[in-house]
Amino acid sequence: MNFFIATLLTPLLGGILLGLLRNPKRAAKLNILISATTFTFSILLALQVLGQESLTTLNGWFYLDAYNVFLVALTAFVGMTTTIFSKPYMQHELEIGRVNERRMRLYHSMYQLFQFGMLLGFTTNNIGVLWVSLELATLATVLLVSLYRTPASIAAAWKYFILCGMGIALALFGTVLVFFTSSVVLGHSNDALMWTQLFAHASELDPTVMSIAFCFLMVGYGTKVGLVPMHAWLPDAHGEGPTPVSAVLSGLLLNLALYALVRCKMLVDGSTNTDMAGHIMMGFGMVSLLVAAMSLHKQSDIKRMFSFSSIEHMALITFAFGIGTPLAAFAALLHMTVHSLIKSGIFFTVGHAAQVMGTQKMAEIRGLIYHHPGIGWGLLIGTAAIAGFPPFGVFMSEFLLFTATLESYPWLAAPLLLGLLIAMGGLFRFVQPMVYGETAEYAKSVHVNMTPVYIHFGLALLLGLSIPGFLSTWYHQAATLIVGGGA
């Protein structure tokens, strides 16, 4: 219980502290320290929860089970490595004058507040607070995306703000509808928004209301997940924000939105006893997969290209949760983990590549492997990993997902495979010339820290080769929990 409070409070207090600290160099170090502390606490918390299956604390306001505690640990981990990456990266941005010291302060402070929003969202038991924390994380990232104050970044942040504001409003309406039916069953009190209570009484909730509510929640949280056709904000926000922000947006924020969606799906399944919610998620997932895979081919900006890859993978996870068999849920959870690791690793690499070449245009990034072998290899390995090459974890999870699809919906296996292949083609089409290609002469020498990248890829490789026993039990627990339903 104390670990839990510590996990939650560290980023909040850290954010306030960083808001007061003027020296950017010291702030960057402190930022790493805070994130490392959060991560340590989250590991301790995870061990504690793992021992007792689930944990409800602070009068039932917070709830931890196998499903979210692993996401908490993942969030804290990626949050920590991102701060390690961001120290030299943002230092360089400061030196070339893209940001000034005041904005560095804003950056560090907002980064920690974003972490706080994320952790609060993952751990809260109240679906109203879940909404509030998602909104909080969004607001923090809006400021981060517009950090460079260039016309494009302001326009991107605005688009992000307006579209997500609209989406999240729909999600709130869905939440109101859930409360509408649950307050009949559980009384007009906080209980009627508590996820554990709702889950326990899911079968008593009115199926019609829950179905309507799910449509709103799906579109609302789906906007944040970046599902087609509500994805317009995502490439812009990823492309124009600082790279550490793109990394956490892709690796973490999308996860939180998807987490919220899956929590809601569990309630709806318990109430309606049909596959309605699953089918909607599968539909959105499949369409998003195909659209993202095709759009990937038409990009010219490297960060935008990889953001479409994020949409593609989020679509895969949504699709997998939609199928709703234990195997699919297992695949989805594994995919969530490896995607977070690899995609943030790729963004780190891409960030360095963009700094080295002084541009984000893929046509002008050439021959990385010759003049910066570290970055070149990083990009190559990362792309291979995200495209689903064995022996990386993505291969493993995609293989499981494919198997699960064949089991339940064989006729969907073909479009699934097609989407994956199109996306893979797109990735290599662009990455190959960037890595090999002719050496460009304008490459700059930049202080590069590839350690976090290799840690991420190493972990993803490890997950591909063999999933550690504790993690596999963990996934199994979570998968049965998600699939089990309330019925």
Partner: protein
């Protein structure tokens, strides 16, 4: 107040809320949009107070006061100040396809009624009739956000969505739990502050509050798609 009478009063307020949502959609002068928005906030506060009085839910009084201060006074004042500082208070926003917008708006209202009518009966609250109106208001405010081309009116649309959601919460459930309500109000306040910050950045960077000008800076990316 007798139950029947307060129900009638609430119905009247609900009807006015719907009217304001339509009015917001049809206004094209910056200041009149703002006035309608402020009216919506005050109307909401009154509705919350009436519901609080007639149901005896004391938490709702707090919501009502919060709404009045935040959505009736503070936010309109902040927007008014922004409008004054940016010298756009005389600006007129041409409404694209007004007829089409109204047709869509009417359709949206019908749609909301169609969706909500069957589930209204599940509730025994006296405010339940206003649920369909609340949903219509949410969708209408979103329509306003989509059809507007200026940053400030888009924001008013965003805040109107929040207002309608609050109204929905009152109508469907006599208000969300206070903690959630405060959380939402806090988020809205932060959002408004960020919006305020953005107005000036947008104005400095683009010399205009037109969304199209802004998106033009993203177009070199979009034409690749």
């Amino acid at each position: 107040m007798s139950i029947a009478f307060s129900q009638q009063v609430i119905n009247g307020l609900a009807a006015l809320t719907l009217l304001i949502s339509f009015a917001l959609l049809a206004q094209h002068r910056m200041l009149s949009v703002l006035h309608w928005f402020a009216a919506q906030g005050i109307l909401l506060a009154i509705t919350a107070a009436v519901v609080a009085y007639s149901t005896g839910e004391h938490e709702l009084y707090i919501s009502a006061i919060m709404t009045f201060l935040l959505k009736g006074l503070l936010l309109p004042w902040m927007l008014w100040r922004a409008i004054r500082k940016l010298h756009v208070h005389r600006e007129v926003e041409p409404l694209m396809n007004n007829g089409m917008t109204v047709v869509i708006a009417v359709g949206v209202t019908l749609f909301s009624f169609h969706i909500i009518a069957p589930i209204e009966v599940l509730s025994d609250l006296m405010t339940r009739n206003s649920m369909a109106i609340a949903m219509a208001c949410v969708l209408l405010s979103m329509l306003m956000m989509i059809t507007r081309k200026k940053a400030i009116t888009q924001v008013i649309g965003f805040l109107a969505v929040e207002n309608s959601l609050f109204f929905a919460a009152i109508g469907a459930t006599n208000g969300m739990p206070l903690v959630v309500e405060i959380g939402i109000a806090f988020d809205v306040l932060i959002a408004a502050l960020i919006f305020g910050l953005f107005f000036f950045h947008i104005n400095n960077t683009f010399d205009s509050m037109e969304i199209d000008t802004m998106n033009a800076s993203l177009i070199h990316k979009d034409d690749d798609e």
